[in-house]
């Protein structure tokens, strides 16, 4: 349910300006407009289909990260879990240890354990999540490289497997090629959006990030909330990794490198506070689209791909300045 952000605001314009999602929405519209005016192929069915396929894979991680960051923590190990999980699944399958489906479940459970360890270290030992998850990134990436000797895993074309069908099966709607992963993404948006703003758990997540001591004093189990979100973020990274692996028929121990920073950038561009307490799933969806559209559009309009990071960095700095300005207005109660 949307909540009024301003004390005495009656005007629709003031309410809109106070929304953290407004800035990202305008940026996305401008981005799409600029790319389309330079190259009309930007909005072609083929290009939209391609962009969406990869977008939702990173997007799944960003959605879970939104909740984790709202609770005041973040997870740098998601990129390595993204690479490790399909490697584990294919290794189990290729070694004849399990079926592909059981291997998939094993990968999810392993990710859950990784998340639980992250959460325990952060909440029980009170080590900042930056250090804990940086350490975990190295452990998980190292494990993936070690068990594969650094080589990509043998993958067969997963066609025909029901697991592949429900995760990445594709079909055409008119000229658009739609992957099943899009529906998983939409489901995650609905469920996590509801969880954050509509459920009691969401209130605890926001309170844990806003003022953990006040939340504890009210009987909220802050540590348990955070551990559960670390588990969610890790399992979502595993889920996204497996989807990506099945779609591309590849399982490279190095895949997902650097994704953690891109995912965190998506979340903060969308308006979730890095310091916790305030988060928005809609904003994250916009943040995901802004970065992926930028990556795709830059190439289409002929800017060298190597210049991509310049634009991403500029967007992050610009959006942070905007959010900080809105936050100060908000705190001042104007």
């Amino acid at each position: 349910m949307p909540e009024g952000r301003i004390l005495d605001s009656n005007s629709l314009a003031e309410r809109l300006i106070a929304k953290p999602e407004l800035g990202p929405l305008i940026l996305l519209i401008i981005e799409i407009g600029v790319f389309w005016s330079i190259n009309h192929d930007f909005l072609s069915a083929a290009n939209i289909s391609n962009t969406l396929a990869f977008t939702v894979e990173l997007g799944l991680i960003a959605l879970a990260m939104t909740l984790l960051m709202t609770s005041g923590e973040f997870d740098l190990s998601v990129g390595s879990v993204f690479g490790f999980s399909p490697v584990l699944m294919w290794t189990l399958y290729n070694g004849g240890v399990t079926s592909l489906e059981v291997g998939f479940l094993a990968a999810l459970v392993a990710a859950g354990v990784i998340g639980a360890v992250n959460g325990r270290f952060v909440t029980q030992l009170r080590i900042p999540s930056f250090l804990v998850t940086l350490g975990m990134l190295l452990v998980v990436r190292g494990t993936a490289l070690f068990i594969t000797d650094g080589f990509p895993q043998r993958t067969w074309s997963a066609e025909g497997s029901w697991l592949a069908d429900i995760l990445v099966g594709d079909f055409f709607v008119g000229p658009f090629r739609i992957y099943a992963s899009l529906f998983w993404f939409i489901a995650a948006v609905l469920v996590l959006g509801y969880l954050l703003t509509g459920s009691r758990f969401g209130n605890w997540v926001q309170a844990a990030g806003g003022n953990a001591n006040a939340a504890r004093a009210r009987g909220v189990k802050v540590n348990s909330v955070k551990v559960r979100l670390f588990i969610l973020s890790s399992m979502m990274a595993a889920f996204a990794g497996v989807i990506s692996s099945l779609r591309t028929s590849a399982a490279n121990p190095n895949s997902g490198t650097g994704y953690e920073l891109e995912v965190i950038a998506m979340v903060v561009i969308g308006g979730t506070a890095l310091t916790g307490g305030r988060g928005t799933i809609i904003g994250t969806v916009l943040g995901i689209l802004i970065l992926r559209v930028m990556r795709n559009g830059i190439v289409l309009v002929g800017v060298p791909g190597l210049a991509y990071n310049i634009f991403i960095g500029a967007i992050i700095l610009g959006m942070m300045a905007l959010h900080s300005w809105l936050e100060r207005r908000h705190q001042a109660g104007t």
């Binding site: 004390l7 459920s199 009691r200 209130n203 806003g210 003022n211 006040a214 307490g277 908000h330």
Partner: protein
């Protein structure tokens, strides 16, 4: 004498070699506002932390309506109807008034597995509570705490304690950093709380504020309660100041009688 709401008997608390509380005795009656005064380091905060379950006592006994209780955590204290409002740490500034009021005890609706918060109930109860506690300005319950003034934040915290039927509301420096009008507002919230059946412990450095609102003044010095029955109507600010800064028992008796 009827059994008081809270009775603390021979409370000792030491941090290593430092004796923060030395056989402190303290009580609060039903529907009573007690002003707890003392210089820095006198032991007020420690006494309150013991009573709110934030720190364990070294020895001594706590009774609630004559029944002995163990307060091992703030959760224990809340269960026993003791609510402590610390100046800055009580509320989550990013959350709305209604979300703060019900934090940890959010009403649910619909099927249980959905864990769905009942926003309508929360907002309507919050609006009602804001009126009850004495906020006359029309503030929507969906307003984030960050947009409220210091006095209004205190009001929200007090309203929350009243709504969840806390028998004892402990206010730690509620008038610090507040303007004159805001302070008067907070003092009237405290009176409203008493009038609706709650007891309060009011801790403040500003003795004038304490005099305006409390029924009885208790003074601590060096970990002991040195005066526990000062009637603000019969005493003066100067006399109480002398007790706080330290005098012989003879001088205290002369000053407060």
């Amino acid at each position: 004498m009827a059994e008081p709401l809270i009775r603390m008997v021979n409370i000792r608390k030491s941090y290593g070699r430092v004796q923060a509380l030395v056989d402190a005795n303290f009580h609060v009656a039903e529907r009573e506002i007690v002003g707890l005064l003392g210089d820095n380091g006198a032991g007020k905060s420690t006494l309150i932390k013991v009573l709110s379950g934030a720190v364990p006592l070294t020895s001594g006994e706590i009774y609630i309506r004559g029944k002995r209780v163990e307060l091992k955590s703030t959760g224990d204290a809340i269960k026993h109807g003791i609510e402590t409002i610390y100046q800055d740490s009580a509320l989550v500034t990013q959350l709305s008034i209604a979300r703060n009021l019900f934090l940890g005890r959010e009403p649910l609706k619909g099927p249980r597995f959905l864990n769905r918060m009942d926003h309508e109930t929360m907002n309507s109860v919050a609006a009602e509570l804001l009126r009850e506690v004495g906020i006359t300005k029309n503030i929507p319950p969906t307003t984030p705490i960050g947009s409220l003034s210091g006095g209004e934040r205190q009001a929200v915290a007090i309203a929350r304690a009243m709504h969840f039927d806390s028998d004892l509301i402990i206010l730690d420096e509620p008038t610090n950093n507040l303007g004159v009008a805001e302070t008067q507002g907070v003092l009237s919230f405290v009176r409203n709380a008493r009038d609706s059946g709650h007891s309060c412990i009011f801790i403040a450095h500003n003795i004038h504020h304490v005099f305006q609102v409390v029924d009885r003044i208790v003074v601590m010095r060096r970990g002991k309660v040195v005066a526990d029955d000062i009637d603000p109507k019969k005493s003066t600010v100067e006399a109480v100041e002398r007790v706080i800064t330290g005098m012989s028992e003879h001088e205290i008796k002369a000053a407060v009688s």
